[in-house]
Amino acid sequence: MWISNALTSVLRVLIGVTARWESPPDLTRQRIYFANHTSHMDTLAIIAALPADARVNVRPVAAADYWGKNAFLSYISQKGLNAVLIDRTSGADKNLLEPIFDVLKAGHSIIFFPEGTRSCQALPGEFKSGLFRLSETFPDVDLVPVYLENFHRSMPKGKHFPLPIICTIRIGNPLQKMIGEEKPLFLERARDAIVRLSQ
């Protein structure tokens, strides 16, 4: 816990990380926070935005090829941030999400980046199918869109130091459930929810 507290404090001083909630969150419910992904600070910033009592139960999903790369990153991500590491490089999609399924079954909330990788743009690119499968398998879990503003300017892909540019985290209302919705439509709607928060 102290690691994530220390890291979030550094982030607060450096880039401000103010959270703007569209409406007061119902933190008693299990949630999947899904966000646009532009920097290595994204996960930490969302954790920093959550109220302290909600933070305990939230597990970020992170890529094993980066966050498990060496002992240091692995310690930070797993011990410090309580992350679930997934292996992006493995072939079959089904196995890839397996660790997330376990975590959701255990009742945790998660932080998930549906693009699957960092982008250089202010707006998210096309979503991969992962979010759709999570939503189908766990229909009772709230899907909460999060827009991370300015993070792509503070620490763009390929740069190693963040600039002190004020970054804002806009957290929207949970996505409405639509039974029997087709995958492309669902993914488009989820992406639109983030784009709407950016305006």
Binding site: G16, N150, R153, K159, L163, I165, I166
Partner: protein, 314 residues
Amino acid sequence: MMLETKFLWFFAGLVGLLASASLIGHVLASRTKTDNAMATVENLNQRVNAWWGMVIVFFMSYLLGGNATVILFGFISLFALREFITLAPTKRGDHNALFIAFFVLIPLQYALIACQWYSMFTLLVPVYAFLLLPAIAVLSQDTECFLERTAKIQWGVMICIFCISHAPALLMLDLEGFKGQNALLLFYLMFVVQLSDVLQYVFGKLFGKHKVAPLVSPSKTVEGLVGGGLAATLIGGCMFWMTPFSFWQSLMMAFVIVVMGFVGGLVMSAIKRSLSAKDWGTMIKGHGGMLDRMDSVCFAAPIFFHLTRYFFSV
């Protein structure tokens, strides 16, 4: 008068002023009925509370000594530049240049003040940064809007680092018969600038009818400017006892500070508008961002510094 005596009088006066402002705000809050007036009074009280905070921070930095004051202004520059760059659209190609601006230029500029290297302090940003920042940015080979981006960064660095640093630079002046009391001059500058802002706001709210520059800053009125500006000039003149100036000299200095402060507020407002924002940030409750509070200081500090240096230094 001794330094400590002057200092105590100054802070006693300041605390008295803030206490009466808090009292007035409290009375107003219990008397207002309409929603519109309540919003104004709430904003007023937030502003007064923020003033308490700012005065306490300055008081602490004074007690901790000159270097603490220099470090405090270093952080003010950091927060100001952070707001400026957040609103000014820079690109990925500017990353390294901005990194240098934030993490090398700011510490360096204030270190130069701390070690009293006057010539380098005046040259660092207008000469070295002016030439080296674009030289670093050009390495990324992004030519799209290169001139605009470079100009924006240079403006931000000039305003937020160079100009603001002239306030604590007062501490390194060697003034006739004023040895060891330069901190008072810094307080004098900050007090007159901010008092002028506050009085222009108060006079504007009470008597304001004709707008000075409605397209740039809808809240500035002729009545506020003249009434508040003259009152601040007069009060500044009467504070000559804490400066190396006579009454008339102090009156002239205060007048220059008020005029520059007003111009600074206007120019920074125009920049803000051209970047389509209402406030620079949200750091100081009731006031907006750091730059909303420092905009007048940015313009007043360098001129006040050089006038004082030219006419009064040994």
